[in-house]
Symmetry: C2
Subunit: 181 residues, 2 copies
Amino acid sequence: MTLFWAKGYHATSLKDLEGALKMKPGSIYAAFQNKETLFRATLDRYAQRMTSEMQALIAASPSPLAALQGHLEGLANLTLCDRPSTACMLVKSLLEVPREGELRGFITTHLDRVEQVIGGALQAAQARGELPPDADTGRLARRIQIYIFGLKVQAQRETDPDRMRELCEDLAAEIGRAATP
Amino acid sequence: MTLFWAKGYHATSLKDLEGALKMKPGSIYAAFQNKETLFRATLDRYAQRMTSEMQALIAASPSPLAALQGHLEGLANLTLCDRPSTACMLVKSLLEVPREGELRGFITTHLDRVEQVIGGALQAAQARGELPPDADTGRLARRIQIYIFGLKVQAQRETDPDRMRELCEDLAAEIGRAATP
DNA sequence: ATCATTTTTGAGCGAATGCTCAAGTATATT
DNA sequence: AATATACTTGAGCATTCGCTCAAAAATGAT
């Protein structure tokens, strides 16, 4: 997963995978059907972790809205982190995979799932009165996801941590503006 | 450029390029040094067009701020468009290229240039009194660019034009909120 | 028309790709 | 201990990759 996340699908060769998995080609093809199936498995794992991390973050906070804001602000620390890539593996893959391929649907399904998690948190926030009763939680969820996409892309080029923090704060503040006064 | 934009650097083979350019390998390597140099040339061309399009849009409108908002709203029509990809070629490339490679700097330079164009428009808006005198135009420019990144990524998965329009409107409205009341 | 120069051609190079499979090694069962 | 079953090995397959270069064709100069 680390390898595919860092280098992308095409740039990751089976030699790379042999080294990372410490397996010979035969074993790899016995365990996973082929390169693409292995890639799908890593996408599954990544998406699984991403969603459960997000759910944990939401569950840990009494205020779902504050949790989402906190998540956005947390993206400021993405620069110095030792992750394979600051960018979201699902977004990277979405942009790399052909438009009409079957992988496309696979990836979007996972992205939809994340959107659902965010939407669920917003509904909970609404139930708690943090959001106006007439607020469109789905719409807001998609907007927040776009913020995450954008910030994680930005983290690939923005070297200044302060500037990154500024942007995270700005976008987090926007979510706060959707809250009930 | 179309080919690299649609398929990405790694997924575009020289066979593909031979077909698209209607040139044999020898001619390609005589005209462009190698695959990577050709790729850089296409990135140059893309960035050039992108910036000049944006500048033209800004120049055509009396209000720079309205021009930027219009640009964001225009991204709603990205779905049905016949472009090679709804995503920004620079962003696609940024995510595909290795973190430490020389191509990275090349791409970020172009992205910085676009940021400068947006920032320039915001300064003009400020001079016209559309933005408060103390507004941080650079910071706002980066935020708008993140909106563009995010929306263009979203356009890769969002099939519903209405939802896309909603999001574009929301983000355009967000810019409007920075304007002087 | 002749010759010098530039451009195009495409067969094919070495290396790398994703992948296979017979042979070998480990594990489990009796 | 003997046998059956499962997993691992790695040489090497067919194909494709990015790329080269001598020869042919087109172009320009005289």
